[in-house]
Structures are given as structure tokens and as C-alpha cells.
């Protein structure tokens, strides 16, 4: 019967889902962090139960229809109405729900536990980008977190504007970034790599372009990165870049952006001290290359309409210099 | 099963029977039920606001916020509270009297109750004038104004309804059969008084307890 086939079809799609989700790019079912791994584990248990429930109940529905279609008058059957309700509606669901409750408690208990040794990172949600600081080191950056593999990490999330939500599917679940209430996200990363995260709470026009990246490195690499970036960047070596630095100070840029160790100390926009080393630009809106940097600065509103960076009138020459300068900031 | 495609409907056969015997008159009329349920929604409104009050309080380190003094609960506050709660007593008389058809008592009782309510309202307005903060000062100011103000509005509305009932009495629109208006008003007025107990306890007394 077509209904039978449809049930099988649904199950098939489910299986395909899983296959797809399991090997896709940034799937939460391809966990690289402690929290995501626990949750994926819980998911597989729930998925099994869900398949069981769906198939059994759907078979009963279809079965009932098929039985009912064959008859001309109502008749009894071996199963009483009470049995249906008690067994199907109460006892079996209660057992399954009990298992799910256990899984819930078990998983929750393992997650987000405070740890004194944790590496602390402060992240602030801005409209529409992420400000990142490493307390005690002076390091400030944006839209990218460098984190060590294997060490407990505590991300402190704050906002002084609207609500955002911090989500890296392969590392763990969401934590809302709420004005007036610092939240903490605690986890460890289990494998080195570059993981994409997004803002998951609707926060205005450019909520869609508020992504960020987590660069998980071995502890050694991370320590080296940290040590290197605790210092302000050295003077631009290359001539064009040095001129770019001057233009950058002269036109409006420095009013909104900081480059540590220079006179650019603006805070309206992302810290650009290491912008050249970032994976992407403008919170995941553009890939990071000289070409796209140029396009961004020339017309930010084209790529991110409504973003809080205005178009600053620049001659082509100045633009080239600024781009050279910014790409040199690693 | 052909019925699926061309339904052959049936006309139910009916027979007339004698009317079933009436019940003893008991319970409330539909007007009463309607207003009672509407009042339940009003109750939820106040409940939500009182919950808001305590939520804001729990979320802040000092209460009232921003160095505002807790509301005074001196003799005056108690007297006017007593006055408002006391104004429910004449309503009980009115309730009883209307069933006996003694409309003079109803009128007098309603008048006394209205005067007490009006006195309370005047006091509330004066209280507002003395406040050192506005609704826009901070969240405390906001919730204070909204709760106390909304309650005062209810007292005011009660006075208007009471006046309407008076006019109806006067015009002879209320009699032994038709007294839903009185019933409904008394329900409303008791409700407004009960809400005051909650408001007084939470907005006026609770800031002194910590």
C-alpha cells in the first residue's frame, strides 16, 4: 500500500538526514568539542527512540486505517480501547520519557561546569560583530577566537546593546549574550581546526551576517600566538603599508578602529590589530583577501547593508595604501 | 463505500416532547458569570504586574532603586487603606437590600461606599504629587506608577459604574428581577478592594521588609 511505502519513505529520509548531517561541513553531529560531543551522544539515543516511536505509532495508524477499510460494520478486536490508551498512550511513553529524562539529567550534569584553571576569554556582542579580549594579556581582536585544544575554556559573554547568542555548532550549544547579565560558556575543544560560529539571536538588520570563527590550536601554538600578540604589532616594514598607516590615521578610520600601539584607538568598530590574519572580514561577510578588503572599505554598505560602518570617501590611491597597511597587520 | 463521493445525507427524524421540567432557580445569571470571568482576567493582569514588581526587585541589588525611599506607611496610609476596604461593607448591605427590594438602602449604601472610595482616590492622587520620582526615573518608578496608577484607575472606574447604577436605580430600571447591575458592581468593587490588599502588601509594605 502507498501508506506503507510512505512510512518507509519517511524512515529513509530520516536515515539520509543523518548520513548527510553526520558528514556535512559544520554539523553539530560532527562534534569537535566536549559539549557538542555529549549532546550528539544524547541525540543518537533520542533519535533511536524517536524512530521507534514514529515507526510504531505510524504503523498503528496505517494499520488501523487498513483494518477499518476492509469492514462494513464496526467490530471488536483482541485489543480493548483501554489497552490502547493505557499501553500506547501512557505506559510505553512514560518509560521512554523516563529514559529521556535520565539522558537529559546525565548530559546536563556533565556540561558547563566551572573550572578554576579555565582560560578566560571575554566576548562582547556588538552590532553586528564580536569583540574578543583575553583578560590579563591586553590582546583584543574581533570575530575570531584563538583557543587551545584540550584546556578548559570559559567564555564570558556580555553585551551593552541588544541580545545576541553565541553558537559554534561543532563545539557546543548556544549561550545568549544579554545586556545587564554576563553569561558564561564553559567547554573544552577536542580537536584542532577552524570552526564557524554564528549569532543565533535575532539582533537587527544584519543579524544574518554576524558570524565568527574559532581557531583551535594545540596548546603550544596557542601559547606562542598569545605571547606574540600580547605585544603591539611592529611598525609596517613595507613602504606602501607605512603610508597606509598614515592615511588610516588621517581619515575617519582611526576614530572608530583601534590598532594597538598606534594612535588609532576608536572603539565603535572592530579592533584591527590583527585583521590581516583573520579568516574572514566583517563578521563572516567576506573572505579575507586584499581584494575583498578593498571592496569592503570602498563600500561597506553594499556588502552589509545597514552595518554601522559608513562609506569613507577615499581616493583609489589612499585605498590601496590602507589595504596594504591592513593586510600587513597579522 | 460510495458515501465518500456522493454523500446521501439523512434528515434526522424528530418528535416533539413536553418541555423538560424546570430546575429550581439556583446559581448565578450569565451576566454575573461573564463579569466574574472578565474580573479573573483583570486579576491575571495585576498578578503579572506584581510578579513584575518582585522580578525587578530580585534582579536588583538595592530596592527601591537609585536611593528612592520606600513608600511611607504612616497613619495616613493605614487610614485610607481602612477606608477603601471599609467601603466594601456598605456594598454588602446594598447586595442584601436589593434582593429585598429596599432600594432606598441600596442608594444610601452605594453613596457611602462611593464617598469612601472617592476619598481614597483623592488621597492617592495627592500621594502621587508628593513623589520624588517619576515613572521614567528607573524601573522602580515605572512599576510603582503602573501598579498604583492602574489600581487607582480601577477605583475611578468603580466610582463611575457606581454612579451608573445609581442612575439606573433612580430611573427605576432595577427591580427584584433585574438587579444584575448591582450584583456585578458589588463583585467588581470587592475585587478592587482585594487587589488593594495585594498592592498595599507588595508595593507599600514589602520594601520595608528585607
Amino acid at each position: 500500500m502507498s501508506r506503507h511505502r510512505r512510512v518507509l519513505g519517511v524512515a529513509g529520509v530520516f536515515a539520509a538526514t543523518v548520513a548527510l548531517a553526520g558528514c556535512g561541513g559544520a554539523s553539530m553531529l560532527d562534534p569537535k568539542g566536549s559539549e557538542a560531543r555529549h549532546i550528539a551522544g544524547a541525540w543518537w539515543v533520542m533519535f533511536g527512540l524517536a524512530m521507534f516511536v514514529y515507526v510504531v505509532v505510524a504503523v498503528f495508524i496505517v494499520g488501523a486505517v487498513l483494518r477499518g477499510r476492509r469492514r462494513r460494520r464496526p467490530e471488536g478486536s483482541g485489543i480493548s480501547d483501554g489497552a490502547f490508551v493505557w499501553v500506547g498512550g501512557i505506559i510505553v511513553p512514560a518509560l521512554i520519557l523516563f529514559v529521556i529524562a535520565v539522558v537529559t539529567v546525565d548530559t546536563t550534569a556533565a556540561l558547563r561546569k566551572p573550572d578554576r584553571r579555565a582560560l578566560r576569554v571575554d566576548v562582547r556582542g556588538q552590532d553586528w560583530w564580536w569583540e574578543v579580549r583575553y583578560p590579563g594579556t591586553g590582546i583584543r581582536t574581533a570575530n575570531e577566537l584563538h583557543l587551545p585544544v584540550g584546556r578548559p575554556i570559559e567564555v564570558r559573554l556580555t553585551s551593552d546593546n541588544v541580545i545576541h547568542s553565541f553558537w559554534v555548532p561543532q563545539i557546543g550549544g548556544k549561550v545568549d549574550v544579554i545586556p545587564g547579565q554576563p553569561n558564561y560558556f564553559r567547554f573544552t575543544i577536542e580537536k584542532a581546526g577552524l570552526y564557524r560560529g554564528v549569532c543565533a539571536e535575532f539582533c537587527g538588520v544584519q543579524h544574518a551576517n554576524m558570524a565568527f570563527y574559532v581557531r583551535a590550536e594545540s596548546p603550544g601554538l596557542f601559547d606562542r600566538w598569545e605571547a606574540a600578540h600580547a605585544q603591539p604589532p611592529s611598525e609596517p616594514a613595507d613602504e606602501l603599508a607605512a603610508q597606509g598607516a598614515l592615511v588610516f590615521q588621517r581619515v575617519a578610520c582611526a576614530g572608530c578602529h583601534t590598532v594597538r600601539g598606534t594612535q588609532a584607538v576608536g572603539t565603535k568598530g572592530p579592533d584591527l590589530t590583527d585583521v590581516g590574519s583573520r579568516h574572514a572580514l566583517a563578521a563572516g561577510t567576506l573572505e579575507n583577501s586584499a581584494a575583498s578588503l578593498r571592496r569592503w572599505i570602498a563600500d561597506p554598505q553594499h556588502y552589509k547593508p545597514g552595518a554601522l560602518m559608513p562609506q569613507v570617501p577615499l581616493s583609489g590611491d589612499d585605498l590601496t595604501k590602507i589595504v596594504a597597511y591592513l593586510t600587513s597587520l597579522k | 463505500m460510495s458515501t465518500a463521493l456522493d454523500p446521501v445525507g439523512t434528515v434526522p427524524r424528530t418528535i416533539s416532547v413536553a418541555a423538560p421540567p424546570p430546575a429550581r432557580h439556583e446559581g448565578y445569571g450569565r451576566g454575573f458569570w461573564g463579569v466574574a470571568i472578565l474580573i479573573a482576567t483583570e486579576g491575571m493582569l495585576f498578578l503579572a504586574l506584581v510578579a513584575t514588581y518582585f522580578f525587578l526587585r530580585a534582579a536588583s541589588t538595592s530596592w527601591p532603586l537609585g536611593g528612592i525611599e520606600p513608600p511611607e506607611i504612616g497613619v495616613r496610609a493605614w487610614v485610607f487603606t481602612a477606608l477603601l476596604l471599609g467601603s466594601s461593607v456598605p456594598i454588602f448591605w446594598a447586595d442584601a437590600a436589593v434582593k429585598q427590594g429596599d432600594y432606598r438602602v441600596v442608594r444610601v449604601a452605594l453613596t457611602i461606599s462611593s464617598l469612601m472610595g472617592a476619598a481614597f482616590l483623592v488621597n492617592t492622587v495627592l500621594d502621587f504629587r508628593d513623589l520624588t520620582f517619576g515613572w521614567d526615573t528607573n524601573a522602580y518608578g515605572s512599576i510603582y506608577y503602573v501598579i498604583v496608577g492602574l489600581h487607582a484607575t480601577h477605583v475611578g472606574a468603580g466610582l463611575v459604574i457606581s454612579a451608573v447604577v445609581q442612575i439606573k436605580l433612580w430611573m427605576g430600571l432595577i427591580d427584584a428581577e433585574h438587579h444584575t447591575a448591582v450584583e456585578v458592581f458589588s463583585l467588581y468593587w470587592h475585587f478592587v478592594d482585594a487587589v488593594w490588599i495585594v498592592v498595599f502588601a507588595s508595593v507599600f509594605i514589602s520594601p520595608h521588609l528585607r
Binding site: 548531517a21 490502547f84 547568542s165 563572516g284 | 418528535i15 416532547v17 430546575a23 513584575t52
Partner: protein, 640 residues
Amino acid sequence: MATITRPEIVDDVLSDERLEEIWKDPPGFIGFLKTVDHKRIGIRYIYTAFVFFFASGLLALVMRLQLAGPNMGVLSPEAYNEFFTMHGTSMIFLFNTPVLAGFGNYLLPMQIGTRDMAFPRLNAFSYWVFVFAGIFLYASFLVGSPPNGGWFAYTPLTDRVYSAGQNLDFWGLAVVFIGISTTVGAVNFLVTTIKLRAPGMTLNRLPVFVWSMLVFSFMVVFSVPVVTTAAGLLELDRLFGTQFFVPALGGSTLLYQHLFWFWGHPEVYILFVPAQGMVSMIVPVFSRRALAGYVWVVASLVAIGFISFGVWVHHMFATGIPPLAISFFSAVGLVIAIPSGIQFFAWIATMWKGVVELTTPMLFALGFMLIFLLGGITGVMVSVLPFDWQVTDSYFVVAHFHYVLNGAVVFPIFGAVYYWMPKMIGRMLSERLGKASFWTMFVGFNLAFFPMHILGFLGMPRRVYTYQSGLGWDALNLLATIGAFVFAFGVLLSLVNFVWARWRGAPAPPNPWQADTLEWMTASPTPEYNFAQIPVVESRHPLWDQDPMPVSESGGDPETRALGREGAARKETPLTSGMRAEPAGAMTVPEPTYLPFVLALGIAVLVAGLLVQAVLIGVLGLVLGAVGLVRWTWRTAETP
């Protein structure tokens, strides 16, 4: 029952034709404005709600076009945000709730065997308020500033600081405005069921749909004031500078979320419970067998009503509330699966031993089951705290709530349209077209919304106006868009079916489905007075078990006069009291009147005045409203 008298040759004065004349509305537009007939109002509720369904559905289709591929330019970011906000808001407030109220309006008095609602004018009033609120909300498109803060309008994004225009004022005021309509509607349903049941219609004989409307009303009464508070305080913040939700001055953004979801969660069951009630009416009729486990089903509906007030925090799992506090809500969320499970197996048991007939309403009921099963299961999944941390605010949740809202609510509503429309318009809808529509909708629905689960796993957050390629989202989104259009085509088939039937359909007999409840006693469409003689109910399935169906004669005394033709001729409908619904006097159904319209208009003007902050307009509205109100209560005094 007592003595059964021979049907008498009725006096010419009290013939059906005469009654019709007595009950008829004035002709034309005047009658349109003045009517207080619950059936006209009910049908009109349904039609109006469907207009909003098409409007918000079209918004969704445009959204789907924008999301069909990466970096599409169909909609600007602002427009997209306005679209999804209006889509969600108007689906919930202007389609789903009112369409159910419409069915309730039409069916509830008929199913309990009376001639109108307890407060017919209030009923008209709640309709007009709904219409004005809908027009008000959609008027935002005309002035170019539709709401854009999402259907739950979280602060501080929706504060003046971050949303300066009037966009959010439209939203906040509309929510308060339409709350009035929903609330008085609920009062009406409750009092009607308490006071107006036909003799013998005891509580355990109430049709399940009536029960579901009772639960609906109960939830409305206790939850809607809270969303009124949320939206009201938001508007106070925005218009008058209070500080409820401004963190810097002691306000709290989480407070807003608590207030909103304290209503928001019950709301989704407010939508869902009557839909389940409809299924419980349809399944037994097309199984030719009484609903199995009636008491269980009713108890489940009531239980859902209660439990739904205890789980609102599951919409706030990621807000950083301590896990211990939250785990309570997680557990309650799981418990709510049991009443749904009970109903599932009651339906299964009913069909198991019945004679199943696959008519269009039945197909929609079955489609509902297969869809809601999945939506319910994903609901249980998201109520698991850590799992929800992953999928909240992602397309997984969008999938969940479309499986339940669009699947578990819209499918039963379509079933109900096919099932009850013959009664309402007196014409049969085409079964062939109906079935074609069902299958198209069913396939399109799953095509549109199933892929969204996977998108959630792949990290796609909701409310994004665009996305980049290379994230593995492209194909699935395209699939969803195609599905949405297939679904919409299915809807269109039903629309065509309806339009065709409305003018060309075969005339409907009184009881085309051989159903068991009282609404099928009357001619189709139902005459203005519903029942010339009020039925005397002795069974849960009167039209199946009571043959012939007894209807009462007017008694000699005023207590029982309303039961028969004499009462009908006086435009009375009987009041009953007690559990057994014994006759206890009568109420007079009021004459058609402009008052409800005027009062609603007054409120609309007041709201508009608030929007543009013009005191004069506001005062005008107040005066208009007050005049209407006073006039109204006056009339009540004369005809209590």
C-alpha cells in the same frame, strides 16, 4: 423523557418561515454591520482569518524565494525582517486564533443545542475588534513601517533606542488590541457553555470540540492578560519613557521574555487544543464508531491546558538561567507528551475497530496525525535541555513549530473546512479536488519543512535574510522553497474548490456525513434560529442513539417557554442550570445593532491615536467607546 406528545400541526404564526422572518437580519450592508447572529459572525471570522492566512502565507512564499539560494536579492534585509515578523505575528494572531474562534462561534452553540451565544453583541464586538486590529496591523505596510522585531519582539532590540520608527508600536498596540477580542470571545464561550446547554446536555455528553473550546477559553483567560502586560509595558517604555526593560536603569530584558512566554507557550496549545478537538470529531464519524476513551481524551485536553502553564521557560533555555532551575521546566515539557500520546491511541483505537472511510476531512485528520507525530517528537527533543542549547533559534526549531503549527493546526483546520463547510454554506465541496488538494499539501508540506531539521543540524540560524554558499545549506533550502510552493498550490486547490462549491456545489443535505452531533440536525445551511425546538439530549451521540430525536415543546411557564417554537418566536433561547442542564428561564437574543461596531471603532480610533501620539484622536476614540458602552449597558438593563 416524560410524555411524548404527537407532533402537532403547528400554528401558522410559528411556522419555520415565520420564525425565519423574526430572526432575519436587515438586508444588505446594514445587516452586515448590525448582525449579532453567531453563525454569520462565525463564518465571517473564518473568512477573514483565511484572508490573513493567504496574506501571511504569501509573505512566507516571498521569504522562501529570498532563501531559495545563497545571496539572493529578492528582499532587502529590512524587508525580510518585516516579512518574517508579519508572517509569524499574523499567522498566530490574525489567522490561527481567530479561525478557531470562528469555528467555535459557529459550532459551539449548535453543538450544545442553543440558538445563539450567551452574549451575542459581545460576540459581534469581538469580531469587529479582530478585524480592526488586523487592518491596523497591516496598515503598517501602507505607511512603510511594518513591525520588524520578530513575532516575540524581544527587548532591548524593540526599545526606542534600537527601533526608533513606528514599526514596533504597530506590533505592541495590535497585540494589546487583539487581546481584547480574544479575551471577550473566551468569556463568551465559557458562559455559553455554562448557561446555555440544551436540556440533558450534561458535561460528559459535551462533544469533544466543545470541551476543547472550553480549554481554549480557560487558557485564554489566564494567559492573554499576561501578554497584554508584556506588550503594554513595552509600549509604555516606548511611548512614555518608562524603564521596565532598560537594563541600565534597573529594568530587565529577561522579564520581558518571562512575561511573553508565560502567554506564548499556552498560546501554542490554545491553537492546538481546538485542532485536536476537531480531529476527535472527525475521526469517529468516519470510523462509524464512538470515540474510544472519550473520558481520557477530555482529561488529556484539560491536562494539556493546565500543564501548558508550567513550561514557558523552555523557550528561554539558552538565556543562562541556572541549569538546576531549568531542569524543572525540562521535565514538565516531557510530561506534556503523555496527554498527546493518549489522544493518539484513542484515535487509533477508534479506527482499529471502526469502518474507516477516507473522505477528505478524514484524510486531513490522518495527515495531521502523521505530521504531528513528528512535530511532537521533535518537541520532546527540544525540551531536552542540552539538546535545545544546540538547536534553539536554528532551523530545527523552525521545522518543529511548522510541523506543529502548520501541520498539526492547519491540517485539522482544512479538515474542518471540508467537514463543516457543507453545513455553513449549504453546498458540498468536491471530494476529488479535496483529495488532490490534500495530497499536494501533504507532499509539499514535508518537502518544505522536513529539510529544515537538517538545516538546523548544519548550523543555520533562524531569521537570517541570507546565507553564504559553501555551508551545505543551498540544496536543502531550495528543496524547502519548492516544497513551500507545492504546498501553496495545494492550498490554492482548496480555495478553488471552495469558490466553486460556494456557487456551484451540490446542495448539502442536513447530515451529509451521518454524524452524531446536534449541528447536523438542522437544515444546511442552518436557519437563523438554529433550532425551532430545542433538542432534548439523552446521549453523547444524540443523532446516532436517539432516533427519533426528541425536541421540546414550549412549556406553559416562563421557565420552559423558550424551549419550543413559542420561545423561538420571541427570539428567546433557554437558559439551563446545573450539571444536567435543566431549564431555568430564558434569555432574549438581542436585535441587530450597531453598538458592537461603534464600540470597536472607538477602540480602534483610540489605538490609532496612541500610535501617532495624538491626544485629540485618542480622546475622540475614548468618547466614542464610552458612548457605545453606556448605550450598550443600558440596553442590557431593559432586556436582561
